[in-house]
């Protein structure tokens, strides 16, 4: 019998409880800093991406054909390529091409790193394509009578959109928007590839110094789970707030949200 593939457990599990407990309950400064970055980059990128998505969708509904084409092409390009590739193209590719180099910007006491700018921009651009799709679906879900009623009163198209359609679409958008933000927070781990010290890359740095790979990335997983769980609370609150009498079905309670196998 050849013992080429001996189960590792035969040596005893190489698991350091106290290291895990320490890294979860007393995370290091750089790790916390990475966590904070993960949060604010996600929030910024989601906000900009939502606005961008609205702009793209409005372009796709324009009366002007070139604008419709441009919007459709944008969604096609962005959804058709991996975020990871987009990140490298925007941050490293553009610099290598000598086209644009993201440099640090100092605004009073705050320094915005070039890599952070590239990260927020790319994540927002990527998100805009998906948000455009979500907003499209929401607008399409609104009964056509709503638009006709506004038009019959004499509202021009832009006003109909602003006063009648978008407020109703916003409500429909909340659950998928929550899903998008959940994904966004986890997508920030991809930023490690352009060298942004967010939570995941910080963990990698700690790993190469300690080799406690399992404990460290379990910690990372716990922290992402914490972020997405907190967001679950916030989203539930937003949905309950938004749910007017127009909405027949109330949003699921947190317990259902956590354990009913929601897509994410």
């Amino acid at each position: 019998m050849i013992h080429g593939a001996l189960p590792l457990a035969a040596d005893g599990l190489n698991f350091d409880w106290s290291f895990l407990a320490r890294s979860i309950f007393h995370p290091s400064g750089p790790f916390l800093h990475g966590l904070v970055r993960t949060v604010y980059i996600s929030v910024l990128a989601q906000a900009l991406g939502t606005l961008g998505g609205l702009a793209v969708e409005l372009a796709r509904r324009s009366r002007w054909k070139p604008l419709r084409r441009a919007g459709a092409t944008y969604v096609w390009l962005i959804r058709g390529t991996p975020l990871l590739v987009q990140l490298v193209i925007v941050y490293n590719g553009l610099a290598a091409l000598n086209l644009y180099r993201f440099t640090d910007i100092t605004l009073g006491p705050v320094v915005i790193l070039g890599v952070v700018q590239a990260a927020v921009l790319t994540l927002a651009m990527n998100e805009a394509a998906y948000m455009a799709e979500i907003i499209r679906a929401a607008l399409d879900a609104i009964d056509v009578g709503q638009k006709e009623a506004a038009v019959a009163l004499g509202m021009p198209p832009a006003m109909t959109m602003r006063l009648v359609l978008l407020p109703q679409a916003a409500r429909i958008c909340v659950p998928p928007l929550g899903n998008e933000f959940n994904l966004m927070m986890k997508s920030t781990s991809l930023l490690s590839v352009i060298g942004l010290q967010e939570m995941f890359l910080t963990a990698q740095a700690i790993n190469s110094a300690t080799f406690k790979t399992f404990e460290i990335f379990l910690t990372v997983a716990v922290y992402y789970l914490m972020l997405t769980t907190i967001w679950g609370f916030v989203q539930g609150w937003i949905e309950r707030r938004f749910a007017g009498p127009t909405q027949a079905v109330s949003s699921p309670r947190l317990r259902e949200r956590l354990f009913a196998g929601s897509a994410a």
């Binding site: 009623a149 009163l153 509202m155 127009t246």
Partner: protein
């Protein structure tokens, strides 16, 4: 109303096709100021489509619709009529109120806001003035106590009355009603009809697509019978109901009267 009143709304040989099928096949009609015209006809006769052509909810394929001599939706181009931009059409539409079969109240707004929205944003009324106007209209349709209610909290009859108030808030010169009671439970029909009768008595110019012959008998100056996209016959309400020329009209009236 007397036929001497000036023509307010006029359809001239209006044609509307869906694909190859003409839904409205050359309909002309003059509606005088203060007149109430009821359009009847079997399902598929083109009456709803015709009504929607009157305020350009449906662009037309031929003919013209004029309000006070101004085309609704078109201007004269070098090679025939050119459709106006949605913005331009919108300005003309403010003169024409429209009430839908399915009410179409803005689902995200209270009854009051449903009514106040257009005057505030299109007529430049202040919030206070627009809400004051809305309150008066709600009182007029008997729903003063429902101003904070959302559409989903109102019965069909109440929703339709709010919808009428919403259209009236723009102070239109003519009101178009597209089967306003067809989506209502029977016990709610009368409350909507009562509001419409009052309007007619106050001298509002109205075009009403309906099968409510009670309303037609009481409020209509004229009844127009449509069939297969054309006007089959028309005449004063009493004559049309009691003594129609065409057998088709007679059979139709019997069918809906049962």
């Amino acid at each position: 109303m007397t036929a001497a009143a000036p023509v307010l709304l006029e359809a001239r040989d209006v044609v509307k096709r869906f694909g190859d099928r003409p839904a409205v096949d050359g309909v002309s009609m003059k509606i005088h100021r203060g007149e109430t015209v009821v359009i009847i006809g079997p399902s598929g006769s083109g009456k709803t489509t015709f009504l929607r052509c009157l305020n350009h909810l449906e662009p037309i394929d031929a003919g013209d619709v004029l309000i006070d001599g101004t085309s609704v939706g078109y201007r004269e181009g070098r090679r025939g009529p050119v459709e106006l931009s949605p913005r331009e059409v919108a300005v003309t539409r403010r003169r024409i109120g429209f009430v839908f079969q399915r009410f179409n109240l803005f689902a995200h707004l209270s009854a009051l806001d449903n009514i106040a929205l257009a005057p505030r944003n299109l007529l430049g009324l202040s919030r206070m003035d627009a809400e004051e106007r809305a309150r008066q209209l709600l009182a007029r349709v008997g729903l003063a106590d429902k101003e904070a209610s959302r559409p989903a909290q109102l019965s069909g009859g109440q929703q339709q009355r709010v919808a009428i108030a919403r259209a009236l808030a723009m102070r239109p010169e003519v009101m178009l009603f597209d089967e306003p009671t067809s989506a209502l439970d029977p016990e709610m029909v009368s409350e909507v009809i009562a509001v419409m009768r009052e309007l007619a008595e106050e001298g509002m110019t109205m075009v009403v697509v309906t099968h409510e012959m009670g309303f037609a008998r009481a409020a209509a100056d004229r009844i127009v019978m449509m069939d297969a996209g054309r006007i089959l016959e028309e005449g004063p309400a009493a004559e049309m109901i009691s003594d129609p020329v065409h057998d088709r009209t007679r059979r139709f009236l019997t069918q809906i009267a049962h």
